[in-house]
């Protein structure tokens, strides 16, 4: 589904990604772990199409298409969803209205009929249950005045409604207490499917207790330094990132 080859990207002349390789197949859940500043979030943003990062080398192929050729809105309409680490507030724009516009933009792109207000509302009601979103948040402006937890929950709610093929969750666990973490993880799990893939970007292992990955990749200094099964996350938890960082001095070793 997603194939990242030797991806290099920089911001303001500073190279952040230094040759990333990643293969994600339909039905898989991949975890990207790594210390702060290792390039985890940059990878997520580059996949989504943020133009503040300049891709200097490499390729990203998604469902057979050259992803780097597509503007961000087309990537989204093709089924890529990024749950933001810091969801943006949009004052004055109603949350439900925003989501309806987003969903219909995708449906139009896919040659489907746009949902009318009634059908959309029914869909929203159904998805709200999955994520246990407070109905009141639907009527508020997008993320405006939401608590940290509400924002993260709203991201997963949007994901549920938009039903993406490839979801990238960028530090979705940060700022969540243990109950909220469980709810969000349950929501994500309910959206897993054999024709869908999820990339979970996280600093900590605890989210992976709830969203169990098939593969774990460890990023350090813009490169994948270790890949393995879920046990790699536990190993990391025990040893800490300094253990990985020591390894980056040597040539990158890839497993799994």
């Amino acid at each position: 589904m997603l194939s990242v080859k030797n991806l290099k990207a920089s911001i303001d002349g500073t190279e952040i990604l230094k040759g990333i390789n990643l293969d994600v197949k339909a039905g898989e859940v991949h975890a990207i772990m790594g210390p702060n500043g290792s390039g985890k979030s940059t990878l997520a943003q580059v996949i989504a199409g943020r133009d503040t990062y300049e891709v200097t080398e490499g390729s990203v192929t998604y469902m057979g298409k050259d992803l780097l050729e597509l503007p961000p809105e087309e990537r989204a309409r093709e089924g890529i969803f990024l749950a933001f680490q810091y969801p943006v507030e949009i004052p004055g724009v109603n949350n439900t209205y925003f989501l309806k516009a987003a969903l219909n933009a995708a449906r139009k792109h896919q040659g489907l009929e746009e949902l009318d207000a009634m059908d959309f509302l029914m869909l929203v009601r159904e998805k709200m249950k999955i994520i246990q979103l407070d109905e009141e948040l639907l009527h508020r402006p997008v993320n405006a005045g939401f608590s940290g937890g509400e924002k993260k929950r709203n991201e997963i709610f949007q994901m549920a409604v938009l039903d993406p093929k490839l979801a990238v969750l960028d530090e979705t666990d940060s700022g969540l207490d243990i109950d909220a973490l469980r709810t969000v993880a349950e929501g994500v799990n309910s959206l897993r499917g054999k024709d869908k893939a999820i990339v979970v970007v996280t600093h900590y292992q605890r989210l992976l207790e709830h969203i169990v990955p098939d593969y774990v990749h460890v990023l350090a200094d813009g490169r994948v330094v270790r890949s393995g099964g879920r046990e790699l996350a536990l190993e990391l938890e025990k040893e800490g990132y300094s253990w990985v960082e020591q390894q980056t001095a040597g040539p990158a070793e890839t497993r799994g």
Binding site: E73, V88, I90, T96, Y97, A101, H109
Partner: protein, 489 residues
């Protein structure tokens, strides 16, 4: 108390929205029956004679003209434009009359109707649509079609062109003309009083609630013709009226001067709601050819418990100079001002309101939303004046500015003059910009950058749009290139 804020970052989407071409630019080729350019007592006599006015009107015009000669064009507004040569302007222009005025829409020049249709104002359809809106349409300077007059007449409501009112209701005109905006008020008001050719007149008798939105579409057409409308609306005791004014103009190269005067008078317990959507030609991307819009609008809450509410959406004109205000004379009277002003390319807007509290427990609300894009300059200028006798007066003002791109400006000049200790005055202001991160967030959800900007701007203006009558709200959103917000949830 001014703050000038400039954006540091540039947004491509913002630029695109700002660079949209004016959609309504075209010219119809109806022969104009015009006065020669220039302004003199002779021209004023020509206008007055052409309109077969009674003596008192000619006197009013001449007094105004003589006063105007003593005035200097004001230069305090935060706008720049080349000096206007008032002797180059044509002060009278009318479509060729076919004997008496048309009796029905069928008699109206089909080309005129076509022009309105292009602007999305199908009069025929409106007539068929059974009395939702009555239109007193002004084409250039002479009224050509009035609908639903019969229905209104049954209720004793007068809704007609200003010229007609001068003939049919001279006593009302004599009583109220210049009573809120005297010809001595300012340079442009004096000019208007001297040369105005037409406009609308509304009178709502005691206890009558006008059953439909009254509406006038203004449109400037003949080249080099300054248009000077005069609107007078009087609501008698316990009356209610909602009046809509909307404008678009064809594209052209010469700057066009527009100096209208609107006067509202609200008697005891009456309400006047006045809504404007202004979309005159703003000039090209270098500011060439746009309309100069120098307008004086003021309402007087003469009676106790009366209310005047102004709502404006200003998206057009190269220069807007406009301060719809309220004189709150009656005790417990209420004044409101809701405004959206959008400037892009080289547009300049200096707009706001004046709320003058005279009576006891008078209240005023000001909500102003300024949007600047391209090289647009947007200024809010407002006066809240609370006189000594205005015990318990209250004002709430909120002035928000939004910036798109890095070459535009937003400015706020609030003047407060409070002479009564029991008064409460609140002022809030904010400036925001559409951030790259907001646009990217929308894009990541599948919404194009352009739609994202429209959506965010629309959200910013929501409080004002919600004050507009439904059909106008739709038009306002169209003008900002925005799809309807809040249709769900």
């Amino acid at each position: 108390m001014s703050d000038q804020i400039k954006l540091e970052r540039n947004s491509e989407a913002a630029e695109q929205l700002a660079n949209r071409e004016y959609k309504y630019g075209f010219v119809t080729d109806i022969e104009a029956d015009s006065a020669p350019p220039g302004l003199s007592e002779e021209i004023i006599r020509f206008i007055s004679a052409k309109k077969e006015e009674p003596e008192f009107m000619l006197e009013f015009r001449l007094k105004a003209f003589r006063h105007w000669l003593t005035l200097e064009e004001p230069d305090w507004a935060f706008v720049n434009y080349p000096a206007i040569d008032y002797q180059q302007i044509v002060y009278y222009s009318a479509p060729k009359a076919q004997g008496d005025g048309p009796q029905s829409l069928d008699e109206v020049d089909p080309k005129l109707l076509e022009t309105y249709a292009k602007l999305g104002i199908p009069l025929k359809e409106q007539e068929i649509l059974a009395g939702v809106v009555a239109v007193d349409a002004v084409f250039d300077s002479v009224s050509v079609a009035t609908t639903f007059k019969g229905k209104l007449e049954e209720l004793g409501i007068v809704f007609c062109s200003f010229s007609e009112a001068v003939k049919e209701h001279p006593d009302l005109i004599r009583k109220y003309l210049g009573s809120v905006v005297p010809y001595t008020d300012n340079f442009f008001a004096a000019l208007n009083a001297a040369v105005f050719t037409d406009g609308s007149f509304v009178y709502i008798p005691k206890g009558v609630r006008c059953p439909m939105e009254l509406s006038t579409y203004f449109r400037i057409n003949a080249a080099n013709t300054g248009q000077f409308e005069r609107t007078l609306i009087v609501a008698d005791d316990d009356a209610y009226v909602s009046y809509l004014e909307g404008c678009t103009a064809p594209q052209r190269d010469e700057n066009q001067l527009h100096a209208a005067v609107v006067e509202l008078i609200a008697a005891e317990n009456s309400t006047i709601k006045y809504s404007t959507v202004q979309n005159w030609y703003p000039g090209d991307e270098n500011g060439v050819g746009g309309i100069y819009n120098f307008v004086t609008k003021r309402g007087k809450c003469a009676g106790a418990n009366s209310k005047i509410s102004w709502t404006q959406v200003e998206t057009g004109s190269s220069i807007t100079w406009k301060y719809p205000g309220c004189i709150l004379q009656g005790d417990n009277s209420v004044g409101e001002f809701y405004s959206v002003a959008l400037t892009n390319n080289c547009q300049q807007a200096d707009t706001g309101t004046k709320m003058v509290h005279i009576g006891k427990n008078t209240r005023s609300t000001i909500i102003s939303k300024g949007i600047s894009a391209g090289r647009g300059q947007n200024t809010y200028r407002g006066l809240v004046k609370i006189l000594k006798g205005a015990d318990g007066a209250r004002n709430y003002s909120q002035c928000d500015s939004m910036l798109l791109g890095d070459r535009c400006g937003a400015h706020t000049f609030p003047y407060l003059d409070v002479q009564n200790r029991t008064a409460t005055v609140e002022h809030e202001a904010s400036t925001s910009k559409i951030g790259e991160d907001q646009i990217f967030y929308c894009q990541q959800r599948g919404i194009s950058a352009e739609d994202a900007v429209s959506m965010i701007v629309n959200g910013f203006c929501k409080e004002v749009f919600s004050e507009l009558p439904m059909e106008f709200a739709v038009e306002a959103q169209k003008l900002l290139g925005i799809s309807l917000e809040g249709s769900v949830g």
